[in-house]
């Protein structure tokens, strides 16, 4: 086990703090013979990178990834792939405030309670900056999954404002600063989030990830379930407080006949998957993929670093009022969209290898 790894056969170990010299990860278990260069990974990092709109933190990081091992002449060799990203924009500001007082809702307190020490600069290990490593690893995972499996995510809620699913248009995702598939909602969000940002507040969000082309048979009873691993992976992202598969919590309100995804036809001769009348299950039955799209959703809480004063205590136990200046995301859920995609990619790649081990190639 490792506190800082995830996956079993496709296994990622991340390291690094917000204001150390670099962050990075080791990706172990990647099959050999897969073309892989920095150029394959960089676009996804660029999508996640902060500072691209007024709605994300203004920290400027190039987020240039380097592959330090595991490839030879542009192809994976089967040995561990080390990925590294330099930290370049650590401002030499005074962190005295954060060092000595605990932001309500932040990990400041629990790190100190657990370890008795913390690297408070920029949030240290608990900074969302670490998610860059997830995104980088996710691109390696996508290479393993191949072109037949597509994993896309979208922001479907900001605070009280959801989307209208009838307007869902994947092509809108890159057309607004929110990864929002509903162009009307995106415009409303811009107004709403400007207000939030200007008064120094923040707000939560919901991200939905959809993986299409996932072959049936990934996952395993009863603790190696695909949905169990997805839940762990998505819940491990900073600020995530809930995870759903398919209908999720809405399934609790349904009857058996309404929740059942009727099976309308067996695979055709070309080997296409079964055809279902609905997808309440989110593509997973009994912990195993059914061939339908895998659908997961996760809730991101509002950033705890805000300009609005909150009551707290200092390291000395004395009451203080906390106002967090600096560069922060008014809605950290936005940048969680590519991170969610990456985590789902990593879980699927892991289960693809796990299934191949036990059951041979599909």
């Amino acid at each position: 086990m490792s506190h800082n790894s995830f996956g079993h056969l496709f296994r990622v170990t991340t390291w690094g703090e917000s204001h150390g010299p670099a962050i990075g990860c080791v990706v172990d278990g990647c099959p050999p013979g897969i073309p892989l260069t920095e150029a394959d990974i960089q676009p996804a990092l660029d999508r996640r990178r902060p500072g691209q709109s007024r709605f994300t933190t203004q920290r400027r990081e190039a987020d240039q990834v380097r592959i330090l091992s595991g490839t030879f002449e542009g192809v994976t060799t089967g040995t561990p792939i080390a990925l590294e990203i330099q930290n370049t924009d650590q401002r030499s500001k005074d962190y005295g405030d954060i060092a000595q007082r605990y932001r309500p809702g932040h990990a400041d307190l629990t790190y100190d309670l657990k370890y008795g020490i913390r690297d408070y600069r920029g949030g240290g290990r608990s900074s969302a900056r670490e998610t860059a490593c997830r995104v980088a690893a996710g691109e390696v995972a996508r290479k393993i999954l191949g072109a037949g499996i597509t994993i896309r995510a979208a922001l479907v809620r900001i605070g009280p404002h959801g989307i209208d699913r009838s307007r869902w248009d994947w092509s809108q995702i890159e057309a607004n600063p929110f990864f929002c598939p509903d162009p009307v909602a995106a415009e409303q969000w811009a107004v709403y989030l400007d207000e939030i940002r200007k008064r120094g507040s923040s707000v939560g969000a919901v991200v939905e990830v959809i993986a299409e082309g996932v072959p049936a048979g990934l996952g395993a009873p009863l603790y190696g379930k695909l949905d169990s691993d997805l839940a762990a992976a998505l819940m491990s992202i900073n600020a995530v407080k809930g995870v759903e598969i398919g209908d999720g919590f809405d399934a609790a309100t349904l009857t058996g006949e309404d929740n059942a995804d009727e099976i309308l036809a067996a695979p055709n001769e070309a080997g296409g998957p079964h055809i279902f009348g609905s997808n309440h299950a989110g593509g997973i039955l009994g912990g195993i993929s059914s061939g339908q799209p895998v659908v997961a959703r996760f809730a991101v809480k509002p950033t705890s670093s805000i300009l609005i004063p909150r009551r707290s205590v200092g390291r000395d136990g004395q009451p203080v009022e906390v106002i967090t200046k600096g560069r922060h995301d008014p809605c950290v859920g936005i940048r969680a969209v590519p991170v969610g995609e990456a985590m789902v990619a990593c879980v699927l790649a892991d289960h693809l290898l796990r299934d191949r081990a036990q059951n041979g190639p599909r």
Copy 2:
């Protein structure tokens, strides 16, 4: 790794099918010197046991647990604890129907797609019967946690009917057949579920688990997070489709100032935990317990075995209509209540040991 184990230092491996000779589990990593006999485990199994009201399956199982190893003269020895429960009420009914056709919403299909074979009798490995092993392991976990940590769960929703939290009364939990903390809701549920049951349908539910007395410092960034492991553990329970920590999905709708749990006082001299103004976080910040109650919630979908006909296909690919006769739970979420407690207990025991390894005793 193992597809059928969970936990790391407190590690449980379960085995068994619904209609095999027995089910069981191996609990590894338990500290030595803890008093443990079958009498410590049996009451929890009795709580989960089916056939105790008309609202659960009428299968009659004694669910008598035997400890086959790992204790000596009534005390744990530090070696693996094997727990075993005989299957006694496997009816010699004809399973021809289930064998040849796939129940919509059930794991029948995906087991066949993955393995090409399945033990269809009573659902085989995917039967909720397996959860007895979780409950048994959970009682061992509670012994490790000690009397200072209490883990209780309640059913807070059946289908469209939630509870009124202002009426929450833990003493009601054992006073109705639903583990419902709201006596008024329990009465409504009885009427509603009778109707569901009589027309051969089923319905979903939501379970809430609250762990009190959890010391601060359990969990770890970034993939060994306490919430990440809770999510995996709860999502691994049969029929679970969603998991929340604290406010969960509601946190997505909040602003930063509303979501922040203000810290009102540092620990007192007796070592009591910090005092907070609220618990939106569900007792976990940055993946680490804060000393507040740990609050988790999970959604259970309706049982897929129903008497109402649904369209499906057979193993031969031909269209069929599926009606599942036999003994089934109209709301499998009811029996998930003790299972949820058990999984939270196992995760906490695991993290207690993991934290002690790295940080010494608390």
Copy 3:
């Protein structure tokens, strides 16, 4: 991790004490669709079973294995396979002596030092009885490996008496009570071991395991090495104090030109393996199988339970003299022969699955 499991994708977890009601193991990760019944496992247990000659302990155990899960209609289903063996010949003798004093060279002392408690009856968890579970799991492993891979072991040394390798004859293995491939040595050993046995002593031994038909490509740099896992697996057997691959310690005395296994021909068109001029490497280069026979050797120390008095201390710290009466193996190395085979089978099955996960089928 687990203290009582081995393997990763083919993963075995054992449990049980010498004088508890039963011992057993859970075999997880076995591919589905493999014919498997008790009759496939029992012969190997019968080979290991004590009481078959005057050179092993006179404890009489039927060692009848039961499969409690993981198969359906005689075929594996991909779910965990629980194997169980009842303990039937636990003599109701007085263990007061062993309970209160530490046999020199035995685990009595260290169990007490570690756990503060031990099941002293028959050695408890440290009894060689546990190796029955390894043998049972090994037979499942052989099924995965298939008929093309044969794993055989032989005793090549008892105390000061080695074999003459020029007389190596596999057909002799079952023709003497020592699994000795040299019929002349076997006769000498009988005389020697009778003398050892009659004077209440014991003696060490060396076992050699040879796996033929192992495909090239199993294993992985740098910590998932095939030889590293073989070393761990063989060293985990009771009383083992050394492990060698190929020439082992003799390789330390060689020059590079003498140790090099020259490659004389590439694979033929039928896909046969490379042809080598020698096999100093024992079939493993850089942690990866080369296609040559895999050769491992392990040293078993003499049984520490002997009739010859040794000085020790009691639980109370007072000096005592220890004489261990009861039924013991004069050379526990004999029964380690099938155990060594089993452990090698388990490691190879695990690496076969691991390699298939990363590299696809061979």
Copy 4:
């Protein structure tokens, strides 16, 4: 699991190839609050560094380690520690020969058989260069173990020439280029190895590692045994072909009465360990440390890269003669001495944490 990690609670994942930009490792699970800077690690790397005498490869590497994460103000924080070493002396030589032909006894062949691709420059991932990461991680492990546990290793054999144990003098270890505790043997070895080196040959060696001050109680039955993990760790070092604990293979030749380590006195009031009459067991009984010094030994085969021509085949399957020019160790066993220390330190640190998890602090 991971092919490139070792340890469980003290977990090291290494990455990097001989001629990539850098090598490194991630050390996870280190307790917080331990002073740690590059200056703590560098001396051990300097000991292992090549090019310090004519008896090791003439490759010149500064082997300067950088700590990229996991410490703050010179103290560990409990988060993963990333260590990195730049490769600076990768000669721009033509590797065409190694690329197209397989050195007998080398991993060239098996990497190609497994992965179908290999980074042949300097041996790629199979280069002994990787062991620098082990040494760096080992220094972190020593910090966890504390000053009370000392781990030292010595070369006790080069080819046919052993040491005279009556002359064992630890102070000689740093006084000769062989880490040899016997000054007379060291002089003989210099003459012998010069001859080996000049004729382009190489030779094997045996390393002995002794850990003193190890508390009783580390390790666990039956697969988490201390000796089992030591065997895996030492066998994972490049070119190692055998591992022994205590008397090792010699124990196979002993009788029970000769092998028994008599216990002469219980711990004194100051908590000192038991006193034993001998240490045939090498400090481990039943997989658990006894409080005596832990003694392990491993055999290193001769370097396969030699100037003496050997027969082999090329990638095209055609017969070739192989002569390996370039900078190589005539006895790679010499540099394995600090590597062996490091691996033992890592295993002990891991088991210290594992024991503390289950049994609390000692």
